[in-house]
């Protein structure tokens, strides 16, 4: 496991003139693998890239897409910036929050979903917008949101 991580990170580092540049890609790799960036993972990265642990922690905590604690399997990221909320106050956030029974920053008891408020997703022309993990959803309505969440639930039954 440790050796494998070392190989992967070293390969990421080869792409760059200086290996410190592999830090962010390495943290993203950990998050992809584990669903979040664990303290243990950060310590390993620090050793492999030969960086002080404090440097790794401060970088990891700076970026809003890096999760330092476990999240739901599906992270629903809802844009609450100006254009997406022009019509009414956070309608999508409120709606999804009510329908899942959790607030922003929380995880559903089954561990399936968590909700995050995010800034402009570059989809203002197709507002309102959200991402679920890496998938992008635009021109949302309450119905389409129900459908999207419903189909994720179904896919999890199998």
């Amino acid at each position: 496991m440790k050796e494998e991580l070392k190989d992967i990170i070293n390969r990421l580092a080869e792409r760059f003139p200086e290996k410190e540049s592999a830090l962010l890609p390495a943290l993203c790799y950990l998050q992809n693998r584990d669903g979040y960036v664990s303290e243990e993972g950060m310590k390993s990265v620090a050793v492999i890239l030969d960086l002080p642990e404090a440097r790794v922690f401060s970088t990891a905590s700076f970026y809003s897409m890096l999760n330092l604690k476990p999240e739901g399997k599906y992270i629903i990221q809802i844009c609450t910036n100006v254009v997406c909320t022009l019509l009414t106050e956070n309608p999508l956030l409120e709606y999804i929050s009510n329908s899942l029974g959790i607030r922003e920053g929380e995880v559903t008891p089954d561990g399936l979903f968590s909700i995050k408020e995010v800034e402009c997703l570059g989809a203002c022309g197709y507002a309102p917008a959200m991402h679920i993990n890496e998938e992008r959803y635009e021109n949302l309505t309450f119905e389409s949101v129900d459908e999207i969440i419903g189909s994720i639930r179904k896919s999890e039954l199998i």
Binding site: M65, Q77, V82, V118
Partner: protein, 406 residues
């Protein structure tokens, strides 16, 4: 109307002819740079700095390392132009980067892609591989002896990383905190080496300039300077989306003709002309030419060209509150005026909108805007203070009503 940037947009991604690159390789680097300088191309990342002048800050005819960075961090609320270029015509960007690299003598380029654009992170490397396979990128490009490589670097969620020195820090594996200047990236950028940073759209203008000449580029604008401009139009319009129009097209034409007018037959109230960080315009101020100089003259900015249209139902204090929340969340925290000022402005606007404002709160916000303005390392300070101050100045009665009716 000449489409410089979006000609391929309906055709889906395809390898374009790279004709401009072929022409470039038959020219001397300084001739290429001179064409870009004469075209009057100004940076599309928001600042509008003349590209030709920026290239002159790099070491000339040096054999040392020069890095090229494409700023694809597109985080300015209201903006979605770079995304569409990369989605629909990534080869236009790649070609523009190779030409610029040839002109300034760069061997390695990076595309700093905003973390949220995951779907682009999947296929941009494929477009890069395609270009490499065709000999248009990589070793010995088209047999010219010139080599240039591009790698995609994915951000991880931070607005301030769009600022070029914060972006460089981020590429070096650090928190994205802007650097004090001087020295400028042109001499001390990535890993302390000379670095040229341009926005996606800036690079994408270059193939046209080389292929058709600087004068054709100038002629594509309605002011005679500066080509076309991509406008991301959003909010209360019938046809929101991305539009390419001559630089200098009137804001009224963009809203009522390009974007089909206000939705539901409502009245226009206000427009943010160049992304959230640019000062708002009232409905009676939209007969204005959308170019860098005219907008500066009316105390706002062309910025990223993100036009946010708001109808009569919109509460400007609420928009100000949203904006304040955004800036408070995204401040990198290194300069006290920005860190503390954005937090205070957010707090004051939150309580005003929630009906708990105090009489002095409005003046207090204005004082904070003045305090942040110009006292920070990067332009984030202006990005917060100018638009919020403009909302208060132009729609003061709406803010005052919140204080009276509490």
């Amino acid at each position: 109307m000449k489409k410089i940037l979006t000609a391929n947009i309906s055709g889906g991604t395809k390898i374009s002819g790279y004709e401009a690159l072929k022409k470039t390789l038959s020219m001397r680097p300084e001739e290429v740079a001179f064409m870009v300088e004469r075209s009057g191309l100004r940076g599309r990342g928001g600042g509008g700095f003349p590209a030709g002048l920026k290239w002159k800050f790099l070491p000339q005819n040096s054999r040392g390392t020069i890095y090229l960075i494409c700023n694809a961090d597109e985080g300015e609320p209201g903006t979605f132009k770079d995304r569409h270029i990369m989605e629909f015509d990534p080869h236009l960007l790649i070609e523009g980067m190779v030409i610029a690299a040839y002109a300034v003598g760069a061997k390695q380029g990076f595309i700093y892609l905003r973390g949220e654009y995951g779907w682009i992170a999947k296929f941009l490397p494929k477009a890069i591989d395609e270009a490499v396979r065709e000999g248009l990128l990589g070793d010995n490009i088209l047999g010219s002896g010139f080599s240039f490589y591009i790698d995609v670097f994915r951000g991880a969620g931070s607005y301030v990383c769009g600022e070029e020195t914060a972006l460089i820090e981020s590429l070096e594996g650090k928190p994205g905190r802007p650097r004090l200047r001087p020295p400028f990236p042109g001499t001390n950028g990535l890993y302390g080496k000379p670095t040229l940073v341009h926005n996606v759209t800036t690079f994408s203008c270059i193939p046209f300039i080389i292929q058709n000449g600087p004068d054709a580029f100038k002629a594509a604008s309605s002011t005679g300077r500066g080509g076309t401009k991509l406008f991301s139009i959003s909010g209360h319009v019938n046809k929101p989306g991305l539009y390419e129009y001559p630089m200098g097209t009137s804001l009224r034409e963009l809203i009522y003709e390009a974007a089909g007018g206000i939705k539901g037959g409502k009245e226009l109230k206000a427009v943010i002309p160049g992304g959230l960080s640019t000062p708002i315009l009232r409905a009676d101020e939209i007969d204005v030419s959308m170019d860098f100089d005219t907008l500066a003259a009316v105390k706002t900015m062309l910025g990223s060209g993100g036009i946010i249209v708001m109808d009569e139902t919109v509460s400007i204090p609420r928009v100000a509150q949203k904006a304040a929340r955004f800036y408070a969340h995204e401040s990198c925290g290194q300069c006290a005026p920005c860190r503390e000022g954005t937090a205070m402005i957010k707090l004051l606007l939150d309580r005003m909108v929630n009906g708990q404002g105090e009489q002095d709160d409005l003046d207090q916000v204005m004082r904070l805007c003045r305090y942040i303005n110009g006292s920070t390392i990067c332009a984030f300070g202006y990005a917060v203070s100018l638009p919020i101050a403009a909302m208060i100045r132009k729609f003061r009665n709406e803010f005052e009503a919140l204080l009276e009716n509490r």
